[in-house]
């Protein structure tokens, strides 16, 4: 089976004035289809650069990056944009929905830039289906400012799903959310992962990383740890436990 991600000796250096900053140093790793990976690290560890590289927003200065078997490390701007459109779904910390644009229109956005020629009725249908997966179909017509943070993030996930990507990339997806909503969002990710979608998530929250299958820890641009999660958390259980705890608090005032 072709790995979704295959990094071979990836380097990313920035020239900042006289000094060369090596943000990512000689990273090699492989992620197979169906994996749920968390990339962790303190700020400045190179995980954001890693994310940009994996997301084809940035090109490595050395090494090669095979996404779904295609070497994308030498592609130009437009070709990278096409790869992003077809193979990658993005979920950001700040949701990054277009303001004053309804949820469904936000979800339609990647399809507008797709090479597939879809009729507007088909666009609508697919966008609604994607919203349905994250449980937001009834709010398709709402604007981002009418939705809670968790709901906005669900819209963003639906947007990431609509082009049926090989890889879902999430950059601190729970960074702006409270703990319960964070667990709910992780529940959405776990559900998607069970359906076979490969998810790579960057986070610095250890408990959030426990919902994934595999944790990669970075420090100073290098991978220092890469191990499977031992005591994995499941969102459904955690939410039930939370609800029970809340119930208990109410019973004993």
């Amino acid at each position: 089976m072709t790995p979704v991600i295959e990094l071979r000796n990836i380097e990313r250096t920035y020239a900042s004035g006289e000094i060369e900053v090596r943000a990512v140093r000689d990273v090699s790793l492989t992620i197979q289809p169906g994996e749920f990976v968390a990339i962790m690290g303190a700020s400045g560890s190179g995980k954001s650069t890693m994310m940009n590289t994996l997301g084809c927003l940035d090109r490595p200065t050395g090494g090669s990056y095979l996404l779904d078997g295609i070497d994308v490390s030498k592609l130009n701007r437009d070709a990278l944009a096409d790869i992003r459109n077809r193979k990658i779904g993005f979920v950001f910390q700040g949701f990054n929905l277009l303001s004053r644009t309804s949820a469904i229109e936000n979800v339609e956005l990647p399809m507008l830039y797709s090479h597939k020629r879809l009729k507007s009725s088909q666009l609508r249908e697919k966008a609604l289906a994607a919203l349905d997966i994250v449980g937001l179909a009834p709010r398709a017509g709402h604007y981002p400012n009418q939705l809670s943070g968790g709901q906005q993030q669900r819209v963003a996930i639906a947007r990431a799903l609509c082009n049926e990507p090989s890889l879902l990339l999430a950059d601190e997806p729970t960074g702006n959310l409270d703990s319960q909503t964070s667990i709910e969002i992780m529940g959405v990710f776990q559900k998607l992962n069970e359906q076979g979608i490969t998810i790579v998530m960057v986070t610095h929250e250890l408990d959030i990383a426990h919902y994934t299958q595999r944790n990669i820890v970075m420090r100073d641009g290098s991978v220092v740890d890469d191990s499977p999660v031992k005591d994995r958390l499941f969102a459904t259980e955690e939410l039930r436990r939370l609800a029970e705890a809340l119930h208990a608090v109410r019973l004993h005032p």
């Binding site: 927003l57 990054n96 929905l97 644009t101 990647p110 830039y113 082009n163």
Partner: protein, 405 residues
């Protein structure tokens, strides 16, 4: 990326900022409306002048006798006595394209009828004159060629003469005394109103030129000859043929000055419409400045818009928009702004010119060409001034743009 989707996105973006969109379009609206209205007014004025001149007659060529000088006093056109009736006959005989010829003499005299009198112009003409000047009869008919040959005492009078001498009475068949000579009125001309120069064209008595020369003026030379060319293409050839013919008849050779002058209709039209053309050009150039300012307004707002929407651009690029998709989006936004402004301006301009013709009685004529040109120009303004901001947006780095606060 589909053009339709881009168009929809552009309109959504413009709709989000209605007030800003309206204010940005205002510059273009005012510029286009001004151009349309001013061109309409200019065209209206020009066509009015052209109509007035056409009322003088179609394809008319006028030959004036040369200026005559006595003791250093120059007497002005028509007084040299160099044009003879024979010249007019020769023109009619030898130049086939000269379809109508009327020799002309004129004098200002006191006339009378019944118990009224009036000072007016008396013209001596041939019956062709009424055809050349495209002049209809309200009553009666023209005098005939036989009247011309016989020097009969018959007259055709204008509406002003009827009003001044006869009032409500029927003038036809009555006797008109010109310098004491009784003329029988055989025709009454339809009203023509004021000329381009503001003269009352109806204040006129027309008699056979032979009668005028013999009985009223005692002269044997003409003031001028009115000639009508067959078609407008014939005007210049006829003019040249007349020049050759008259030089030959007057025995003028080589570089010696002609003792006559020829003018044609076109010269009068050109002179009369030149002023309104200059005015139109001036106003249109002022309006173009307004369009330029409007364009700069669009550029300004598009630059603001690109900065404001940096994050949006980042998101679009992250989900797969190419640089040219972003370029197209902003270009379409700018062009929609300017061409919508153009359309509104065209409607306003047409409305304004219609209002002017209704309330200020100004003749206006909206030219389709000015409508098409203003629309194209406003669309081009959008493309031109939208290009720089759009290119700036398209060149953004997606990572930077996503991080932009």
């Amino acid at each position: 990326m589909k053009i339709r989707a881009t168009l929809i996105m552009a309109f959504r973006a413009l709709r989000r900022n209605k007030l800003r969109t309206a204010l940005t379009m205002l510059g273009i609206i005012i510029g286009v409306a001004a151009v349309i209205a001013m061109v309409a007014i200019g065209n209206g004025a020009t066509s009015q002048v052209e109509n007035q001149i056409a009322a003088l007659g179609q394809n008319v060529v006028l030959i004036f006798a040369g200026s005559f000088t006595a003791g250093g006093v120059r007497a002005g056109w028509g007084n040299a006595g160099t044009l003879k009736v024979g010249d007019a006959d020769a023109i009619k005989r030898e130049i086939p394209a000269a379809v109508a010829v009327s020799p002309e003499v004129r004098t200002n005299v006191q006339i009378g009828a019944e118990n009224q009198n009036w000072f007016t112009n008396v013209l001596g003409e041939s019956p062709d004159y009424f055809g050349i000047r495209n002049w209809q009869f309200a009553e009666g008919t023209s005098f005939s060629d036989r009247d011309v040959r016989g020097g009969t005492k018959v007259a055709v009078i204008g509406q002003t003469i009827v009003r001044q001498l006869f009032g409500e009475d029927d003038a036809l068949g009555d006797v008109l005394r010109v310098k004491g000579v009784p003329f029988q009125i055989v025709g009454v001309l339809a009203g023509k109103g004021l000329s381009v120069m503001g003269q009352d064209q109806d204040d006129v008595v027309v008699v056979p030129y032979t009668s005028a020369m013999k009985r009223l003026m005692g002269v044997n030379s003409l003031r001028s000859i009115n000639v009508e060319a067959d078609t407008s293409d014939d005007i210049v050839p006829v003019q040249n043929q007349i020049t050759d013919l008259l030089r030959q008849r007057h025995k003028i050779v080589g570089a010696n000055g002609d003792d006559f002058t020829i003018h044609n209709q076109q010269e009068f039209t050109d002179a009369a419409t030149a002023t309104s053309r200059i005015l139109t050009v001036l106003v249109v150039s002022i309006a173009s400045v307004s369009l330029l300012v409007g364009g700069i307004g669009i550029m300004n707002i598009m630059l603001v818009s690109v900065t404001e929407r940096t994050r949006e651009i980042g998101i679009r690029m992250a989900v797969g928009a190419h640089g040219r998709d972003i370029l197209l989006q902003f270009l379409i936004e700018a062009t929609s702004l300017s061409s919508m402004g153009g359309v509104i301006g065209i409607l306003l301009g047409i409305g304004a010119s219609k209002l002017l013709s209704i309330f200020a009685q100004w003749p206006t004529l909206v030219s389709p060409l000015s409508v098409i040109l203003s629309f194209m120009f406003s669309a081009c303004v959008g493309i031109f001034f939208g290009f720089y901001p759009a290119r700036k947006a398209a060149a953004l780095d997606p990572i930077e743009a996503l991080r932009y606060e």
